[in-house]
Protein backbone atom coordinates (compact mmCIF):
# COMPACT_ATOMS: atom_id res chain seq x y z
CA UNK A 1 0.00 0.00 0.00
CA UNK A 2 1.20 3.53 -0.77
CA UNK A 3 2.98 5.14 2.17
CA UNK A 4 0.79 7.55 4.08
CA UNK A 5 1.11 10.80 2.13
CA UNK A 6 -0.61 14.06 2.87
CA UNK A 7 -1.86 14.52 -0.62
CA UNK A 8 -4.32 17.22 -1.57
CA UNK A 9 -7.36 15.84 -3.33
CA UNK A 10 -10.09 18.21 -4.50
CA UNK A 11 -13.26 16.95 -6.12
CA UNK A 12 -14.26 20.18 -7.86
CA UNK A 13 -17.95 20.80 -8.44
CA UNK A 14 -17.49 23.73 -10.83
CA UNK A 15 -14.95 24.71 -13.48
CA UNK A 16 -14.05 27.75 -11.37
CA UNK A 17 -13.26 25.54 -8.40
CA UNK A 18 -11.10 23.30 -10.57
CA UNK A 19 -9.26 26.31 -11.92
CA UNK A 20 -8.66 27.65 -8.42
CA UNK A 21 -7.10 24.31 -7.46
CA UNK A 22 -5.00 24.38 -10.63
CA UNK A 23 -3.78 27.86 -9.68
CA UNK A 24 -2.53 26.38 -6.43
CA UNK A 25 -0.59 23.72 -8.26
CA UNK A 26 -3.04 20.82 -8.46
CA UNK A 27 -2.82 18.45 -11.45
CA UNK A 28 -6.03 17.46 -13.22
CA UNK A 29 -7.26 13.93 -12.45
CA UNK A 30 -9.91 12.56 -14.81
CA UNK A 31 -10.48 8.79 -14.99
CA UNK A 32 -7.00 8.04 -13.69
CA UNK A 33 -6.33 5.24 -16.20
CA UNK A 34 -3.20 6.98 -17.43
CA UNK A 35 -2.11 8.79 -14.30
CA UNK A 36 -2.44 5.80 -11.97
CA UNK A 37 0.25 4.06 -14.01
CA UNK A 38 2.72 6.93 -13.54
CA UNK A 39 4.58 5.09 -10.74
CA UNK A 40 5.16 2.16 -13.13
CA UNK A 41 6.74 4.63 -15.54
CA UNK A 42 8.99 5.88 -12.75
CA UNK A 43 7.01 9.09 -12.24
CA UNK A 44 5.65 10.05 -8.80
CA UNK A 45 1.95 10.75 -8.50
CA UNK A 46 1.25 14.47 -8.13
CA UNK A 47 1.16 15.92 -4.61
CA UNK A 48 -2.12 17.70 -5.32
CA UNK A 49 -4.86 16.65 -7.70
CA UNK A 50 -8.17 18.11 -8.73
CA UNK A 51 -10.81 15.63 -9.94
CA UNK A 52 -13.30 16.68 -12.60
CA UNK A 53 -15.90 13.90 -12.29
CA UNK A 54 -18.29 15.93 -10.15
CA UNK A 55 -18.53 18.87 -12.58
CA UNK A 56 -21.84 18.37 -14.40
CA UNK A 57 -20.93 20.80 -17.20
CA UNK A 58 -17.94 18.64 -18.16
CA UNK A 59 -19.79 15.33 -18.09
CA UNK A 60 -22.33 15.79 -20.86
CA UNK A 61 -22.57 15.53 -24.63
CA UNK A 62 -24.80 18.18 -26.23
CA UNK A 63 -26.05 17.40 -29.73
CA UNK A 64 -27.41 20.43 -31.59
CA UNK A 65 -28.59 20.54 -35.22
CA UNK A 66 -25.34 22.10 -36.46
CA UNK A 67 -22.81 21.26 -33.77
CA UNK A 68 -21.88 18.94 -30.93
CA UNK A 69 -20.23 19.82 -27.63
CA UNK A 70 -18.42 17.12 -25.64
CA UNK A 71 -17.42 17.70 -22.02
CA UNK A 72 -13.82 16.83 -21.19
CA UNK A 73 -14.90 14.43 -18.42
CA UNK A 74 -17.17 12.41 -20.71
CA UNK A 75 -16.05 8.78 -20.77
CA UNK A 76 -15.43 6.75 -23.92
CA UNK A 77 -18.51 4.64 -23.19
CA UNK A 78 -20.78 7.66 -22.80
CA UNK A 79 -19.36 9.30 -25.92
CA UNK A 80 -19.89 6.20 -28.06
CA UNK A 81 -23.43 5.77 -26.81
CA UNK A 82 -24.32 9.44 -27.30
CA UNK A 83 -23.12 9.64 -30.89
CA UNK A 84 -24.09 6.20 -32.14
CA UNK A 85 -27.18 7.49 -33.91
CA UNK A 86 -25.57 10.67 -35.29
CA UNK A 87 -24.81 10.24 -39.01
CA UNK A 88 -21.32 11.30 -40.07
CA UNK A 89 -19.61 10.52 -36.77
CA UNK A 90 -19.15 6.78 -37.29
CA UNK A 91 -15.37 7.23 -36.99
CA UNK A 92 -15.50 8.95 -33.62
CA UNK A 93 -17.93 6.32 -32.34
CA UNK A 94 -15.63 3.53 -33.55
CA UNK A 95 -12.71 5.23 -31.80
CA UNK A 96 -14.63 5.56 -28.54
CA UNK A 97 -15.99 2.02 -28.70
CA UNK A 98 -12.83 0.32 -29.97
CA UNK A 99 -10.17 1.81 -27.69
CA UNK A 100 -8.76 -0.15 -24.76
CA UNK A 101 -11.24 -2.58 -23.15
CA UNK A 102 -14.77 -2.18 -21.79
CA UNK A 103 -13.71 -1.56 -18.17
CA UNK A 104 -11.24 1.15 -19.19
CA UNK A 105 -13.73 2.76 -21.58
CA UNK A 106 -16.20 3.16 -18.72
CA UNK A 107 -13.65 5.23 -16.85
CA UNK A 108 -11.24 6.85 -19.33
CA UNK A 109 -12.27 10.32 -20.44
CA UNK A 110 -12.00 12.37 -23.62
CA UNK A 111 -9.91 15.00 -21.84
CA UNK A 112 -7.58 12.39 -20.39
CA UNK A 113 -7.09 10.82 -23.79
CA UNK A 114 -6.12 14.13 -25.37
CA UNK A 115 -4.00 15.33 -22.45
CA UNK A 116 -1.94 12.22 -21.68
CA UNK A 117 1.43 13.63 -22.75
CA UNK A 118 3.78 11.11 -24.26
CA UNK A 119 0.90 8.81 -25.25
CA UNK A 120 1.13 8.37 -29.01
CA UNK A 121 -1.60 5.73 -29.43
CA UNK A 122 -4.58 7.83 -28.31
CA UNK A 123 -7.55 6.78 -30.46
CA UNK A 124 -9.59 9.94 -30.01
CA UNK A 125 -6.79 12.20 -31.26
CA UNK A 126 -6.89 11.16 -34.95
CA UNK A 127 -10.67 10.71 -34.82
CA UNK A 128 -11.10 14.29 -33.59
CA UNK A 129 -8.51 15.56 -36.09
CA UNK A 130 -10.63 14.11 -38.88
CA UNK A 131 -13.64 15.93 -37.38
CA UNK A 132 -11.61 19.19 -37.34
CA UNK A 133 -12.57 19.56 -33.70
CA UNK A 134 -12.01 22.72 -31.71
CA UNK A 135 -10.64 22.34 -28.18
CA UNK A 136 -11.93 24.67 -25.48
CA UNK A 137 -9.40 25.40 -22.78
CA UNK A 138 -9.74 27.22 -19.48
CA UNK A 139 -6.62 29.16 -18.71
CA UNK A 140 -5.89 31.42 -15.77
CA UNK A 141 -6.73 34.32 -18.11
CA UNK A 142 -10.07 32.96 -19.29
CA UNK A 143 -11.31 30.54 -21.89
CA UNK A 144 -9.69 29.94 -25.24
CA UNK A 145 -10.60 27.99 -28.39
CA UNK A 146 -7.95 26.22 -30.40
CA UNK A 147 -8.00 23.94 -33.44
CA UNK A 148 -7.14 20.39 -32.45
CA UNK A 149 -4.01 20.25 -34.65
CA UNK A 150 -2.54 23.25 -32.84
CA UNK A 151 -3.67 21.92 -29.50
CA UNK A 152 -1.92 18.58 -30.06
CA UNK A 153 1.26 20.29 -31.24
CA UNK A 154 1.46 22.79 -28.38
CA UNK A 155 -0.01 20.57 -25.66
CA UNK A 156 3.00 20.35 -23.33
CA UNK A 157 3.23 24.14 -23.00
CA UNK A 158 -0.53 24.75 -22.99
CA UNK A 159 -1.26 22.23 -20.26
CA UNK A 160 1.14 23.77 -17.76
CA UNK A 161 -1.55 26.38 -17.13
CA UNK A 162 -4.68 25.36 -18.94
CA UNK A 163 -7.17 22.55 -18.65
CA UNK A 164 -9.39 21.19 -21.38
CA UNK A 165 -13.06 21.77 -20.70
CA UNK A 166 -14.92 20.92 -23.92
CA UNK A 167 -14.54 19.71 -27.47
CA UNK A 168 -16.63 21.38 -30.18
CA UNK A 169 -17.55 19.66 -33.44
CA UNK A 170 -19.33 21.03 -36.48
CA UNK A 171 -21.90 18.67 -37.93
CA UNK A 172 -20.48 18.93 -41.41
CA UNK A 173 -19.50 15.31 -42.04
CA UNK A 174 -21.39 12.93 -44.26
CA UNK A 175 -19.38 9.88 -43.30
CA UNK A 176 -16.32 8.82 -41.33
CA UNK A 177 -14.38 5.72 -40.35
CA UNK A 178 -11.72 4.84 -37.80
CA UNK A 179 -9.46 1.90 -38.51
CA UNK A 180 -6.97 0.69 -35.92
CA UNK A 181 -4.43 -2.08 -35.94
CA UNK A 182 -3.82 -3.65 -32.54
CA UNK A 183 -1.53 -6.66 -32.28
CA UNK A 184 -4.25 -8.79 -30.74
CA UNK A 185 -7.74 -8.51 -32.10
CA UNK A 186 -8.63 -6.05 -29.38
CA UNK A 187 -7.61 -4.87 -25.93
CA UNK A 188 -4.14 -3.49 -26.51
CA UNK A 189 -2.68 -0.29 -27.93
CA UNK A 190 -3.04 0.17 -31.67
CA UNK A 191 0.16 -0.02 -33.70
CA UNK A 192 -1.27 2.47 -36.20
CA UNK A 193 -4.58 4.27 -36.65
CA UNK A 194 -6.19 5.88 -39.69
CA UNK A 195 -9.23 8.13 -39.23
CA UNK A 196 -10.98 9.16 -42.40
CA UNK A 197 -13.87 11.57 -42.85
CA UNK A 198 -15.72 13.02 -45.83
CA UNK A 199 -17.38 16.39 -45.34
CA UNK A 200 -20.37 17.98 -47.02
CA UNK A 201 -18.11 19.51 -49.71
CA UNK A 202 -16.89 15.93 -50.44
CA UNK A 203 -13.48 16.86 -49.07
CA UNK A 204 -11.53 14.02 -47.48
CA UNK A 205 -9.96 14.60 -44.10
CA UNK A 206 -7.44 11.99 -43.08
CA UNK A 207 -5.56 11.70 -39.80
CA UNK A 208 -3.03 9.20 -38.52
CA UNK A 209 -2.34 8.22 -34.93
CA UNK A 210 0.22 6.05 -33.16
CA UNK A 211 2.70 6.12 -36.07
CA UNK A 212 4.52 9.30 -35.03
CA UNK A 213 4.77 10.58 -31.44
CA UNK A 214 1.81 12.94 -31.98
CA UNK A 215 -1.22 12.29 -34.20
CA UNK A 216 -1.50 14.52 -37.28
CA UNK A 217 -3.45 15.12 -40.49
CA UNK A 218 -2.17 13.36 -43.63
CA UNK A 219 -2.32 16.46 -45.81
CA UNK A 220 -0.21 14.96 -48.63
CA UNK A 221 -2.79 12.20 -49.08
CA UNK A 222 -5.72 14.60 -48.68
CA UNK A 223 -4.31 16.74 -51.49
CA UNK A 224 -3.69 13.72 -53.70
CA UNK A 225 -7.25 12.52 -53.13
CA UNK A 226 -8.61 15.99 -53.97
CA UNK A 227 -6.53 16.20 -57.15
CA UNK A 228 -7.71 12.88 -58.52
CA UNK A 229 -11.06 12.11 -60.11
CA UNK A 230 -14.01 11.57 -57.78
CA UNK A 231 -13.68 7.76 -57.78
CA UNK A 232 -10.53 8.19 -55.69
CA UNK A 233 -12.90 6.99 -53.01
CA UNK A 234 -12.11 3.56 -54.26
CA UNK A 235 -10.33 1.47 -51.60
CA UNK A 236 -7.64 0.16 -53.94
CA UNK A 237 -6.93 3.53 -55.52
CA UNK A 238 -6.80 5.22 -52.12
CA UNK A 239 -4.28 2.62 -50.92
CA UNK A 240 -2.11 3.28 -54.00
CA UNK A 241 -2.16 7.00 -53.29
CA UNK A 242 -1.34 6.30 -49.64
CA UNK A 243 1.71 4.29 -50.69
CA UNK A 244 2.84 7.07 -53.02
CA UNK A 245 2.35 9.85 -50.46
CA UNK A 246 3.50 8.11 -47.30
CA UNK A 247 5.45 10.89 -45.56
CA UNK A 248 5.42 9.41 -42.04
CA UNK A 249 8.44 8.71 -39.86
CA UNK A 250 7.40 5.72 -37.78
CA UNK A 251 8.29 5.74 -34.10
CA UNK A 252 9.96 2.70 -32.59
CA UNK A 253 8.06 1.31 -29.63
CA UNK A 254 7.46 -1.75 -27.48
CA UNK A 255 4.67 -3.13 -29.67
CA UNK A 256 6.18 -2.40 -33.08
CA UNK A 257 9.09 -0.81 -34.88
CA UNK A 258 8.71 2.41 -36.79
CA UNK A 259 9.04 0.93 -40.30
CA UNK A 260 6.15 -1.43 -39.61
CA UNK A 261 3.81 1.29 -38.34
CA UNK A 262 4.57 3.26 -41.52
CA UNK A 263 4.25 0.29 -43.81
CA UNK A 264 0.76 -0.74 -42.68
CA UNK A 265 -0.75 2.66 -43.48
CA UNK A 266 -1.85 1.98 -47.09
CA UNK A 267 -3.68 -1.15 -45.94
CA UNK A 268 -5.41 0.79 -43.19
CA UNK A 269 -6.38 3.46 -45.73
CA UNK A 270 -7.88 0.77 -47.95
CA UNK A 271 -9.88 -0.58 -45.01
CA UNK A 272 -10.96 2.90 -44.00
CA UNK A 273 -12.31 3.73 -47.46
CA UNK A 274 -14.07 0.36 -47.61
CA UNK A 275 -15.68 1.14 -44.22
CA UNK A 276 -16.65 4.64 -45.42
CA UNK A 277 -18.42 3.21 -48.42
CA UNK A 278 -20.56 1.08 -46.12
CA UNK A 279 -21.84 4.07 -44.14
CA UNK A 280 -25.28 5.49 -44.72
CA UNK A 281 -23.83 8.79 -45.94
CA UNK A 282 -21.87 7.25 -48.81
CA UNK A 283 -23.86 4.15 -49.62
CA UNK A 284 -25.15 5.90 -52.76
CA UNK A 285 -21.68 6.05 -54.31
Amino acid sequence: MAASVERLFTAASTIEEALAARRQGATVLAGGTWMMRDPRRGVDLPEAVVALHRIPALSKVEIEPDHIVIGAAVTHTVLGRALRAVAGFEGLVAAAEGAANPGIRRVATVGGNLCALGFAAADLAPALLACEATVELQTFEGSRLLGISDFLKDRPALLTEAMVTRIHLRRDLIASAHIRLPLRQAGDYPVAIVSFAVDKDKRCRIAVGSVEPVARRWTALEQAMAAGPAPALDPKRAAELALEHNDFQGRDGKEAEGWYRRQVLPTLVRRAVAALLKTEGLAWL
Binding site: R37, A100, P102, G103
Partner: protein
Protein backbone atom coordinates in the same frame (compact mmCIF):
# COMPACT_ATOMS: atom_id res chain seq x y z
CA UNK B 1 -7.81 12.36 3.76
CA UNK B 2 -10.92 10.49 4.87
CA UNK B 3 -12.91 8.75 2.13
CA UNK B 4 -16.26 7.11 2.86
CA UNK B 5 -18.16 4.76 0.59
CA UNK B 6 -20.43 1.74 0.70
CA UNK B 7 -18.60 -1.55 0.43
CA UNK B 8 -20.80 -4.59 -0.21
CA UNK B 9 -23.68 -2.75 1.36
CA UNK B 10 -21.86 -1.57 4.48
CA UNK B 11 -20.30 1.76 5.37
CA UNK B 12 -16.58 1.86 4.76
CA UNK B 13 -14.20 4.55 5.93
CA UNK B 14 -10.64 4.94 4.70
CA UNK B 15 -8.18 7.40 6.15
CA UNK B 16 -5.02 7.79 4.11
CA UNK B 17 -3.67 8.67 0.68
CA UNK B 18 -6.63 9.39 -1.64
CA UNK B 19 -4.57 8.17 -4.60
CA UNK B 20 -4.30 4.67 -3.12
CA UNK B 21 -5.64 2.16 -5.67
CA UNK B 22 -8.98 0.79 -4.50
CA UNK B 23 -7.74 -2.78 -4.95
CA UNK B 24 -5.15 -2.31 -2.21
CA UNK B 25 -7.73 -1.18 0.28
CA UNK B 26 -10.01 -4.07 -0.60
CA UNK B 27 -7.29 -6.66 -0.19
CA UNK B 28 -5.02 -5.24 2.48
CA UNK B 29 -7.40 -3.38 4.75
CA UNK B 30 -10.66 -5.22 4.20
CA UNK B 31 -9.16 -8.65 3.46
CA UNK B 32 -11.49 -9.04 0.49
CA UNK B 33 -8.94 -11.06 -1.40
CA UNK B 34 -11.34 -12.26 -4.08
CA UNK B 35 -10.35 -9.15 -6.00
CA UNK B 36 -6.94 -9.92 -7.52
CA UNK B 37 -4.15 -7.46 -8.29
CA UNK B 38 -2.43 -9.13 -11.21
CA UNK B 39 -1.17 -6.67 -13.83
CA UNK B 40 -2.05 -3.41 -12.02
CA UNK B 41 -2.25 -1.78 -15.44
CA UNK B 42 -5.85 -2.18 -16.52
CA UNK B 43 -5.07 -4.97 -18.97
CA UNK B 44 -6.07 -8.23 -17.23
CA UNK B 45 -9.40 -7.45 -15.53
CA UNK B 46 -8.69 -9.65 -12.48
CA UNK B 47 -9.30 -6.67 -10.18
CA UNK B 48 -12.73 -5.79 -11.62
CA UNK B 49 -15.36 -4.59 -9.13
CA UNK B 50 -18.62 -2.70 -9.49
CA UNK B 51 -18.59 0.99 -8.70
CA UNK B 52 -22.13 2.33 -8.73
CA UNK B 53 -23.12 -0.80 -10.68
CA UNK B 54 -20.47 -0.37 -13.40
CA UNK B 55 -17.71 -2.95 -13.85
CA UNK B 56 -14.36 -1.17 -13.63
CA UNK B 57 -10.76 -2.13 -12.82
CA UNK B 58 -10.00 -1.33 -9.18
CA UNK B 59 -6.23 -1.21 -9.73
CA UNK B 60 -6.50 2.11 -11.58
CA UNK B 61 -9.21 3.62 -9.37
CA UNK B 62 -7.82 6.07 -6.84
CA UNK B 63 -9.93 5.66 -3.72
CA UNK B 64 -10.56 9.42 -3.68
CA UNK B 65 -12.77 8.95 -6.74
CA UNK B 66 -15.11 6.50 -4.96
CA UNK B 67 -16.14 8.95 -2.23
CA UNK B 68 -19.89 8.46 -1.79
CA UNK B 69 -20.07 5.55 -4.26
CA UNK B 70 -21.32 1.99 -3.81
CA UNK B 71 -18.57 -0.59 -4.35
CA UNK B 72 -19.39 -4.28 -4.80
CA UNK B 73 -16.73 -6.97 -4.87
CA UNK B 74 -17.06 -10.65 -5.72
CA UNK B 75 -17.71 -11.31 -2.02
CA UNK B 76 -20.69 -8.96 -2.20
CA UNK B 77 -22.21 -10.83 -5.11
CA UNK B 78 -22.72 -13.94 -3.02
CA UNK B 79 -21.03 -14.90 0.22
CA UNK B 80 -20.75 -18.55 -0.78
CA UNK B 81 -23.25 -19.61 1.89
CA UNK B 82 -26.06 -18.01 -0.05
CA UNK B 83 -27.49 -18.83 -3.45
CA UNK B 84 -24.92 -18.11 -6.10
CA UNK B 85 -25.39 -15.46 -8.76
CA UNK B 86 -26.85 -17.31 -11.79
CA UNK B 87 -23.64 -16.68 -13.68
CA UNK B 88 -21.55 -18.24 -10.91
CA UNK B 89 -23.91 -21.20 -10.82
CA UNK B 90 -23.54 -21.64 -14.57
CA UNK B 91 -19.74 -21.43 -14.41
CA UNK B 92 -19.78 -24.11 -11.73
CA UNK B 93 -22.20 -26.32 -13.61
CA UNK B 94 -20.18 -26.03 -16.84
CA UNK B 95 -16.96 -26.70 -14.92
CA UNK B 96 -15.63 -23.60 -16.61
CA UNK B 97 -13.19 -22.60 -13.88
CA UNK B 98 -9.62 -23.84 -13.91
CA UNK B 99 -7.01 -22.11 -11.73
CA UNK B 100 -9.56 -19.45 -10.85
CA UNK B 101 -7.20 -16.49 -10.94
CA UNK B 102 -9.25 -14.59 -13.50
CA UNK B 103 -12.70 -15.63 -12.34
CA UNK B 104 -13.64 -13.05 -9.73
CA UNK B 105 -12.94 -10.35 -12.32
CA UNK B 106 -14.63 -12.35 -15.05
CA UNK B 107 -17.78 -12.74 -12.93
CA UNK B 108 -17.84 -9.06 -11.98
CA UNK B 109 -17.46 -7.93 -15.62
CA UNK B 110 -19.95 -10.43 -17.00
CA UNK B 111 -22.57 -10.11 -14.26
CA UNK B 112 -22.93 -6.42 -15.12
CA UNK B 113 -22.92 -7.30 -18.80
CA UNK B 114 -25.70 -9.91 -18.61
CA UNK B 115 -27.76 -7.57 -16.43
CA UNK B 116 -27.56 -4.86 -19.12
CA UNK B 117 -27.64 -7.09 -22.22
CA UNK B 118 -30.18 -9.86 -21.73
CA UNK B 119 -30.29 -10.53 -25.47
CA UNK B 120 -26.54 -10.55 -26.12
CA UNK B 121 -25.16 -12.61 -28.99
CA UNK B 122 -22.00 -14.72 -28.79
CA UNK B 123 -19.81 -12.07 -30.46
CA UNK B 124 -21.19 -9.50 -28.01
CA UNK B 125 -20.33 -11.77 -25.08
CA UNK B 126 -16.80 -12.11 -26.47
CA UNK B 127 -16.47 -8.35 -26.93
CA UNK B 128 -17.50 -7.87 -23.30
CA UNK B 129 -14.65 -10.15 -22.19
CA UNK B 130 -11.89 -8.30 -24.02
CA UNK B 131 -10.59 -6.82 -20.77
CA UNK B 132 -10.60 -10.10 -18.83
CA UNK B 133 -7.62 -12.28 -19.59
CA UNK B 134 -7.71 -15.99 -18.80
CA UNK B 135 -4.54 -18.03 -19.19
CA UNK B 136 -6.15 -21.43 -18.62
CA UNK B 137 -9.48 -22.01 -20.24
CA UNK B 138 -9.29 -20.84 -23.85
CA UNK B 139 -12.48 -18.85 -23.14
CA UNK B 140 -14.95 -20.98 -25.10
CA UNK B 141 -16.42 -22.68 -22.04
CA UNK B 142 -16.86 -19.34 -20.38
CA UNK B 143 -18.70 -18.00 -23.42
CA UNK B 144 -20.86 -21.16 -23.47
CA UNK B 145 -21.73 -20.71 -19.80
CA UNK B 146 -22.69 -17.05 -20.28
CA UNK B 147 -24.80 -17.91 -23.33
CA UNK B 148 -26.53 -20.71 -21.35
CA UNK B 149 -27.14 -18.38 -18.48
CA UNK B 150 -28.82 -15.83 -20.77
CA UNK B 151 -30.83 -18.59 -22.42
CA UNK B 152 -32.11 -19.92 -19.13
CA UNK B 153 -33.04 -16.44 -17.95
CA UNK B 154 -34.91 -15.74 -21.16
CA UNK B 155 -36.77 -19.05 -20.93
CA UNK B 156 -37.64 -18.38 -17.33
CA UNK B 157 -38.83 -14.93 -18.42
CA UNK B 158 -36.53 -13.11 -16.04
CA UNK B 159 -33.48 -10.98 -16.49
CA UNK B 160 -30.20 -12.29 -15.18
CA UNK B 161 -30.00 -9.45 -12.73
CA UNK B 162 -32.65 -11.36 -10.77
CA UNK B 163 -30.19 -11.62 -7.96
CA UNK B 164 -29.67 -7.96 -7.58
CA UNK B 165 -26.15 -6.63 -7.22
Amino acid sequence: MVVTFQLNGEDCRFDGDPMTPLVDILRQERFLTGTKAVCREGFCGACTVHVDDEAVPSCLKPVGLVQGCAVTTIEGLSSGNQVLHPLQANFEAADAVQCGMCFPGMVMSLSAFVRDNPHASRPEIKAAMVGNICRCTGYERIVDAVADCLDQARKAGQLVGGIHV
